[in-house]
């Protein structure tokens, strides 16, 4: 699937060619210089034919109330005309007229009551659609690193910003009636709105977030659809493209949606947690949305504590193998979960969980080890450990003992001493037993290792023997056959 999914924006031509890379790496300075103040147009100017020139209409406030409605619609229609902002010198006069008109429209719907009449909805939504719905252009930086690089900004922002502004005022107006609007703001509309979340421009995504949140709040009939589409976007992000700019914004909206879920949780919501949110932890760019993601996960657990076990097992399954930065994030999320865990749930996952923590504690990356050892500064976690010390101490002891002797980083060694001391105080007897059996334990492990090797060696021999047998029998058959044909 991944090979046949849409070409990522840069496949046709890497924005930074191999020859521009130094020693295989793109020089930061080169990259920075390249994209200072970059902006891009929306991929909608197919034809180069010039736009009709706009002529200013009279001000709305100067019109009589009879004419106002008619004039309002005219202005909305006027604002449906789009201009090419990549060309900074064309249509200057018309662009200015449209900007002024949009400003006037924003002002008009937010300060006047009773202006959003039924007949205006169609023109309003048409104007919004004409301006914001567009195919997003290819990203001109295929290895765009949102943490490092400046995003490419939308060139037509001077107009689009005002359109979003207008859209929000419209949705938030006391006169706004969802029952009328739902004829125009339908599934197709929402679908297009969601696609825009991939915009590289953070200002646009911020507006979209508020807009979508309002729509979710006001249109009950669209809620399930919105959730399903977000679901699809996330699945595509995880399993197909690994690229979508608006993940953090969508998760933020979901955070408050989850907060409002009724109890008991529907199966659909649990499935979303386990099959979408948990696998999202595998994403390469987790750092960009981890805070929002962890918030969503914890929201779920606060709603329904029985989800704790599958969630923690899920996180353990996707535990990062090579990326220490992500490991630190996982540990942070585990601590957030442990902060709200119920003691009965804790018992269910303590064994696999502490096996992982024991590995983290002995990580040679000191930030990982340090983050894991900080668990012992958390009063609530400490109380859980104390309650279950008989289970946890044997799991943790080996790693802690070894690090106290071997870790390269003095801070970690000091922290480990403190942890060992705390654990010893919890159960001195067990601690002494483990200390005295430590060596024997290591030796037993070594012996087991040898046995394993032996087993595999025997299996390999057997395989060879069988292969040989087969060859021989095939050879025998062959010779029998050839003999018969010879005769």
């Amino acid at each position: 699937m991944s090979s046949s999914s849409p070409p990522p924006a840069g496949t046709a031509s890497a924005a930074i060619s191999a020859s521009e890379k130094v020693d295989g790496f793109t020089r930061k300075s080169v990259r920075k210089a390249q994209r200072q103040k970059r902006s891009q147009g929306s991929s909608q100017f197919r034809s180069q034919s010039s736009q009709p020139e706009l002529h200013p209409l009279p001000q709305l406030k100067d019109a009589t109330s009879n004419e106002q409605q008619e004039l309002f619609c005219q202005k909305l229609q006027q604002c449906c005309i789009l201009f090419d902002f990549m060309d900074s010198v064309s249509d200057l006069k018309s662009k200015e007229i449209k900007r002024a008109t949009l400003n006037e429209l924003v002002e008009y719907v937010s300060t006047n009551r009773g202006v959003i009449v039924e007949s205006a909805y169609s023109d309003i939504v048409k104007m919004i659609s004409a301006n914001i719905f567009r195919t997003l252009p290819p990203s001109d930086n295929p290895d765009f690193d949102p943490e490092e690089d400046e995003p490419t900004l939308e060139a037509s922002w001077p107009h689009i910003q005002l359109v979003y502004e207008f859209f929000l005022r419209f949705l938030e107006s006391p006169d706004f009636q969802p029952s009328i609007a739902k004829r125009y703001i339908d599934q197709k509309f929402v679908q297009q709105l969601l696609e825009l979340f991939d915009s590289e421009d953070p200002r646009e995504r911020d507006f979209l977030k508020t807009v979508l949140h309002r729509i979710y709040g006001k249109f009950l009939g669209l809620r399930a659809f919105i959730r399903k589409q977000i679901n699809n976007i996330f699945l595509r992000f995880i399993y197909e493209t690994e690229h979508f700019n608006g993940v953090a914004e969508l998760l933020e909206i979901l955070g408050s949606i989850i907060n409002g879920f009724a109890l008991p949780l529907k199966a659909e919501h649990k499935q979303f947690l386990m099959k979408v949110l948990i696998p999202m932890h595998t994403a390469k760019g987790l750092a960009l949305f981890h805070a929002q993601l962890a918030y969503c996960v914890v929201q779920f657990l606060e709603k329904d504590t029985t989800l704790t076990e599958p969630v923690i097992r899920g996180l353990l399954k996707f535990w990062p193998k090579t990326c220490s930065q992500k490991e630190v994030m996982f540990l942070g999320e585990i601590e957030e979960i442990l902060d709200v865990i119920e003691p009965t749930q804790f018992k269910k996952i303590e064994e696999p969980l502490f096996k992982q923590i024991s590995k983290c504690v002995s990580s040679s990356h000191f930030q990982v080890a340090e983050r894991a050892l900080y668990f012992w500064n958390n009063e609530y976690i400490l109380s859980l450990i104390e309650e279950n010390i008989d289970k946890i101490l044997p799991i943790m002891f080996g790693s802690l003992y070894k690090i106290s002797k071997e870790h390269w980083n003095p801070t970690i060694v000091a922290l480990v001493y403190n942890v060992l001391k705390t654990l010893m105080e919890m159960n001195g007897k067990l601690f002494d037993d483990l200390t005295s059996s430590y060596k024997a334990e290591r030796q037993r492990e070594k012996k087991k290792e040898l046995e394993r090797e032996e087993l595999w060696k025997k299996l390999e021999e057997l395989k060879l023997k069988k292969a040989l047998e087969k060859q021989n029998s095939a050879y025998n058959m062959h010779s029998i056959l050839s003999n018969t044909t010879d005769e």
Binding site: A14, S19, P137, K458, M477
Partner: protein, 601 residues
């Protein structure tokens, strides 16, 4: 033959059952359950060994059920498992038992991770071929149906890849069912499934009866090509290639072309990109008549698309498009309908578009012939040789051979030289590296005189470049040149200059001398090597830098076989023996290695 094979496999299996008491399944399963993922992974990768130890019977009755039950593991382990099972038919007792492998693979085909699922589908496709027609309908087809009506999208996605392998061998009634299932997946609620179906549409069309293609596949194609998601629409373009191959020209015109025309003008650049990217395949599939009427105008639009990505993809296809036009009238079409657009692209605002064009434009000269090339193409080549972007220039230079055949390179040499010199001194070493690689080719085309006069100094300058990769490539380049121009040329022009560097104050340059000698000695032959190179190498054995000394040892080992016995015994041996006593461990090591390889001990 089947009768003969029977006893053979039976014997093997019996042998396995004989000593399997040594390996109780519990021990093996413990290995598959080991707490350490890496060990578990290792065990899974040797699953065939385990199966062999158990014998076919117990593999079927014990191992496979265990594997089916415990499919909740790290994706990496599952991937290995999915791969192993594809080759397991022999280990469960041959084709008659192939269906035993279906349950674990079915579970694997429903997991979340795409890589695992895809591998499971691949293995299932493989195994499907090993089923008898009866087993296929009894076991395989029901599996496909289950997957196709699964709750979660993953199983439906996997099902899409299995239709085409079971369809040809299914009975009439089952075929209808299979088609029905495929149809419903094409209009699935989840875009992921529609994408999977769209990506398999072409493959499925190929195994269908022509009537069904027309009555069922075409409507599906039309729907997918107007899907609300551009990621689905663009996959329909791919399917179009396969479908078009199956239909007659009239059917094509009526059933497919309206949709293809629409795709070429899709509002999403991704779809247009796909049309551009698949252009040659589409051209071949629809045939010459439709190409002239429809595809050429569409291609013109793609060449002046508003998105650079699309223009670049189209530019890449220019040569293939022209090549595949029918001979009759080809020249006129290119000159009137394609060339004007190409001229525009030469001065495109986007360097990737220009670069894509530069990588194929030279190929047009063979198609258009000498006169047209000189009159129309040459100005374009020359313009691109002066392009500000090094990649464009490089692409032109790397394709000089096409032009050489048609008009000879002399026409270009006046403009070529400044372009080469500039690239040779480019600040980016990768650009320099790229141009070095074309030197032997250029030298061959320009001739030894031109080379000595204009390019030789460049080649020598690269030897002292500050980037190792360039020095290395320069050394290699010299070898190629000597192979081309002969040893006499080497002796007069290259060797003296290389040997002078042995006295350079910079040890890196002194080492370059050694590397050059390693590369050149074979091409230069015994006489030059013994008389000119060897003395220099031996002298360098006294260098104060250890790296130079151990490279002397390595060089001696390399050129030793070219020297005669006298030189080896009297000159090389004492020096190596001395180096063998060096205070530096590396020098000692390489000296001793050379002594033993050259058998001088």
């Amino acid at each position: 033959m089947a009768g003969v094979a029977g006893p053979g496999t039976g014997q093997g299996a019996a042998g396995g059952d004989g000593d399997d008491s040594l390996y109780p399944i519990a021990v093996l399963i413990d290995e598959l359950r080991n707490e350490d993922v890496q060990l578990r992974l290792n065990s899974i990768k040797k699953l065939s060994t385990i199966a062999l130890a158990l014998g076919v019977e117990r593999t079927r009755t014990e191992l496979l059920p265990f594997l089916t039950d415990t499919i909740y593991d790290e994706d990496e382990v599952l991937l290995a498992l999915a791969e192993q099972l594809g080759n397991f038919t022999g280990l469960v007792g041959g084709p008659d038992f192939a269906h035993c492998l279906l349950p674990p693979l079915e579970s694997l085909a429903t997991v979340e991770e795409t890589v695992v699922r895809d591998k499971a589908v691949e293995s299932l496709r493989q195994i499907s071929q090993e089923h008898t027609p009866v087993a296929l309908e009894a076991h395989f087809v029901p599996l496909v149906k289950r997957l196709a009506s699964g709750d979660w999208f993953t199983s439906r996605t996997s099902a899409c890849g299995l239709f085409s392998v079971c369809y040809p061998r299914a009975s009439h009634a089952v075929k209808a069912e299979i088609r029905q299932h495929f149809r419903s997946l094409c209009s699935d609620d989840t875009p992921m499934v529609r994408r999977a179906a769209a990506s398999k549409l072409g493959e499925f069309a190929k195994v269908l009866e022509l009537d069904s293609v027309k009555s069922e596949i075409v409507p599906l194609f039309t729907n997918l090509a107007s899907d609300e998601q551009d990621s689905v629409r663009l996959l329909a373009v791919e399917a179009c290639v396969s479908i078009a191959q199956l239909l007659s020209e009239d059917d094509l015109e009526a059933l497919v072309m309206p949709t293809l025309r629409q795709a070429a003008e899709d509002k999403s650049w991704r779809v247009r990109y796909m049309v551009a990217d698949k252009f040659s395949e589409l051209q071949k599939a629809v045939g010459p008549k439709i190409t002239l009427n429809d595809l050429i105008p569409a291609f013109q639009n793609l060449l002046k698309d508003c998105e650079a990505e699309v223009r670049a993809a189209a530019a890449h296809k220019v040569k293939e498009l022209c090549e595949n036009l029918p001979m009759e009238g080809r020249e006129t079409i290119i000159m009137n309908q394609i060339l004007p657009y190409i001229k525009e692209l030469v001065s495109d605002t986007n360097q990737h578009v220009k670069s894509a064009l530069a990588s194929v434009i030279m190929g047009l000269s063979t198609i258009l012939g000498k006169g047209n090339t000189i009159e129309h193409l040459l100005p374009l080549f020359l313009a691109q040789l002066k392009d500000e972007c090094p990649e464009v220039r490089l692409n032109i230079i790397s394709n000089l051979d096409c032009v050489n055949e048609v008009i000879g390179i002399r026409q270009l040499s006046q403009s070529l030289l400044p372009a080469i010199v500039e690239l040779a001194e480019d600040a980016k070493w990768r650009v320099r590296l790229a141009i070095i690689e074309y030197m032997p080719l250029l030298a061959g085309q320009l001739g030894v005189e031109f080379f000595d006069e204009k390019l030789n100094s460049l080649c020598m300058a690269w030897l002292v470049d500050h980037v190792h990769a360039i020095r290395e490539a320069a050394t290699h380049n010299l070898m190629k040149l000597v192979q081309k121009f002969g040893k006499e040329w080497a002796q007069n022009t290259i060797v003296p200059k290389v040997l002078v560097m042995a006295n350079d104050p910079n040890y890196l340059h002194r080492m370059t001398t050694l590397f050059c000698i390693n590369a050149l000695s074979e091409a230069c032959g015994q006489e030059i090597t013994t008389k000119q190179m060897l003395p220099v190498v031996l002298k360098m054995a006294r260098d104060q830098v250890a790296n130079v000394r151990f490279n002397v040892a390595k060089s001696l080992q390399k050129i030793g076989p070219i020297l005669d016995t006298d030189a080896l015994q009297e000159e090389v041996k004492p020096v190596l023996q001395k180096l063998g006593q060096d205070e530096d461990v590396d020098v000692k090591y390489f000296a001793q290695e050379a002594i033993s390889v050259l058998a001088l001990a």
